[in-house]
């Protein structure tokens, strides 16, 4: 049940992922059940110790670490996408659940949304 917000865009370059995260925070603020699924290039959101001074943007890591505190119920990462981008628990932020099947995660939610 609840809404699954899917982030399939890398963290920098477009604002689509940030705006997707805002959607999740907004649902949580209204006490609506919401979880996030990172897939495709979007799994790079979950990389630990992102260094962004070179591009003059804030790291998304801090925003993301607030998700569970603000009431987002779960952070899922598509396992195949993580393998493709070399992400393993050691180089990922904490609190992420690996999803062997994104389709199954989507099936567990009544509403799925992408930011763009």
């Amino acid at each position: 049940m609840g809404t699954l917000i899917v982030i399939d865009q890398p963290p920098y370059g477009t604002w689509a992922g940030r705006e997707a995260l805002d959607m999740a925070f907004s649902l949580a603020a209204f006490d609506q059940p919401v979880a996030l699924l990172f897939t495709g290039a979007g799994v790079n959101w979950l990389r630990k110790s992102q260094e962004t001074t070179g591009i003059g943007q804030k790291s998304v890591e801090k925003n993301l670490s607030a998700a569970l505190i603000f009431g987002v119920e779960a952070l899922y990462a598509d396992a195949t996408a993580c393998a493709r981008y070399g992400l393993v628990p050691d180089n990922m932020v904490t609190g992420v659940a690996m999803a062997e099947s994104s389709a199954e995660v989507m099936r567990q939610h009544s509403h799925t949304a992408f930011a763009g």
Partner: protein, 138 residues
Amino acid sequence: MATISLQNYTLVITGAPYSSQAPQTALSFARAAIAAGHTVDRVFLYGEGVHLASSLSAPPSDEPHWADQWSRFLSENAISGVACIASALRRGLTNDSEQKRYELPANNIREPFIIAGLGEWVEGTMASSRVLYFHGGD
């Protein structure tokens, strides 16, 4: 013909006019839905989609004017059109009160669109039986 249950839709547009097909596809969908007896609760513009609410777009006269077509459609059917305030202000779309707040030289929201928060989208997800997203895609 099989009977279909009537739905109440919230439409979310995240693709900009002229860079994507999203506003056009959403308008075709909305017209067809209403013609078939469904209702559209609201249209929410998010991300790049906020450009659809600009009163300053002026395409050549022999091209479709998506902002104009959408605003007429909303007015004729008394559907509320909302542009996300954070998306809008980032992209240079503003109303009278935000113009004053940020001391901007102009405002450019096209009637009947209004600027409001993501809470309007949340409310749409709760009030509608279906929420459809129209993305720019890539």
